[in-house]
């Protein structure tokens, strides 16, 4: 299912050197890359001998953060926040810090974190170690979903082999997170580690100020930390050799839906969506629309999406969002409204149940969308949906309701002709198409 591939950036024809893969370069077919192979491919993790809180060590740590800042690395978990800035603010916080790696990939349509953790765990763990050194952390955690005991066992073994080899100054503790969608949210993970329920909390205070055990906590996606592991070895200029000046580096994307070879691919930031889809085997049928960014992302019509570069800024400019690099292709024969209705129903079932507007608003939104998709709307479904959006958006403690409303709004925009048709004539034949967007618990989940 998962495929490793490379791409050369066709925009620069005189530089046909092999610049990718980077993260996926050390992968051996189908097996976890062990510590020895990892060190042979990339070299040992560049941690100084003295990683304590003395002035010399802190100065080196500060220089490492400088490199990260100059590299322009941004978070690969979806928000795209500058990683150097986050590390800097955690390092500046009072007392010893904590590093948390978020490998709990809550998005059903995303597979990249799972790929990294199962095949290149040492790259991620190098990143955790380096981040711990950079911010002066005395505790480090790697959070993964607890529904895969084999993965957890393999990660424990990897962490153990590093401890035995004396690589990590701060031992990495593997933490199992509940499989719920909201449990992989930043504040939910922190609350879980603190011994509370794995549910989002109301901020302030923000995690980087007071997180685990009330200490400044650097919480990063595992892919971000994997990039950090390479930047520390090869430098910021190297990182910037691919991608765009405004969006440097490479990133992992998960492509699925009606394409020839669904899977995880490593691309340069700024690669047009169409090119990424061709990399994944191209559409198997005439594409109608692309869901970009996952279930908290946006639908874009296929013609609009095709030339758009994969970067946060470019996607924002067309009213979209890159999210965690997820692309799902919807073919013409499918019904976008029906797919969206199913996803919103899933998101409604997955609320933490803590905030009224989300707890009640999302089911109402799901009902209205299902009405429109499967029963034709009776002429007022679109209006009902439009009325519900401002009652849900921004009124929860976390971004769960906002993600759902963003998806719903983008569906009504990208499928506006369909919406009008459904309203007048009832459901289209597309609702009979095999569902493409994976819902955990459904039989057809891949």
């Amino acid at each position: 299912m998962t495929v490793v591939a490379t791409t050369t950036w066709r925009g620069a024809p005189d530089r046909r050197i092999r610049r990718l893969p980077r993260l996926l370069a050390g992968l051996t077919d189908g097996r976890t890359t062990g510590l020895n192979v990892h060190e042979r491919s990339y070299g040992p993790v560049p941690l100084p001998a003295d990683t304590g809180r003395g002035r010399a060590a802190r100065a080196k740590a500060s220089r490492l953060i400088d490199v990260v800042e100059r590299s322009g690395l941004t978070g690969r978990g979806g928000a795209g926040f500058p990683t150097g800035r986050k590390l800097r603010s955690v390092a500046a916080g009072p007392g010893p810090a904590v590093v948390v790696a978020n490998g709990a990939e809550g998005e059903p349509a995303s597979r990249k974190d799972r790929l990294l953790l199962s095949r290149a765990p040492h790259l991620v763990m190098d990143g955790i170690s380096l981040a711990a050194f950079a911010v002066g952390a005395t505790q480090a955690y790697l959070a993964v979903h607890d529904d895969d005991p084999r993965l957890m066992a393999s990660l424990e073994a990897a962490a153990q082999s590093r401890t035995v080899a004396g690589i990590d100054q701060v031992p990495i503790q593997i933490v199992g997170i509940e499989g719920r969608y909201v449990a992989s949210e930043q504040t939910a993970i922190v609350q879980h580690i603190n011994g509370g329920p794995g549910l989002p909390t109301f901020t302030p205070p923000r995690t980087h100020e007071r997180g685990v055990a009330n200490r400044p906590t650097a919480l990063n996606n595992v892919e971000t930390l994997a990039h950090l592991a390479l930047i520390a070895r090869y430098g910021d200029n190297w990182f910037r050799e691919v991608g765009l000046p405004s969006a440097p580096g490479s990133t992992l994307v998960t492509v699925s839906g009606a394409v020839g070879r669904p899977g995880v691919y490593e691309i340069e930031l700024g690669t047009p969506i169409g090119e990424v889809l061709m990399l994944a085997g191209g559409p198997v049928e005439r594409p109608q629309a692309v869901l970009v960014g996952g279930y908290f992302g946006t639908w874009l019509e296929a013609e609009t999406a095709w030339p758009v570069p994969m970067s946060h800024a470019a996607l924002r400019s067309v009213g979209g969002a890159m999210g965690a690099g997820i692309l799902i292709v919807l073919p013409e024969s499918s019904c976008g409204l029906a797919e969206t209705a199913r996803v919103i129903r899933y998101l409604a079932d997955e609320t933490a149940g803590q905030c009224g507007p989300c707890m009640f608003g999302l089911p109402a939104l799901a009902d209205a969308l299902a009405d429109l998709a499967y029963h034709g709307g009776r002429g007022d479904a679109a209006a009902r949906i439009a009325g519900l959006i401002p009652l849900i958006e921004g009124r929860g403690a976390c971004r769960h309701p906002d993600g759902a409303t963003q998806l719903a709004v983008s569906a009504l925009s990208a499928f506006r002709h369909d919406a009008r048709w459904h309203d007048e004539h009832g459901p289209c034949f597309g609702i009979r198409h095999e569902p493409l967007l994976p819902i955990p618990g459904d039989v057809e989940y891949w």
Binding site: F202, G356, F360, L391
Partner: protein, 68 residues
Amino acid sequence: MSQHLRVNPIMCTGHGMCAELLPEFIRLDPWGYPIIPAEPVPDELRGLARRAAAACPTLALLIDQRRD
């Protein structure tokens, strides 16, 4: 200094006491939860706003004093 209201959505259980005391500023959504405008509280309602925050059964209504 302007006074702003905000609600902790986790603590709020939709009692609606705030909307009763401050109907000029706070409305309830169809599920009984308060809709708090982002604008500052009008001067003449400041006292009532403080009373509404004190009356909230779960202390979910919060007052922010912001320097403009």
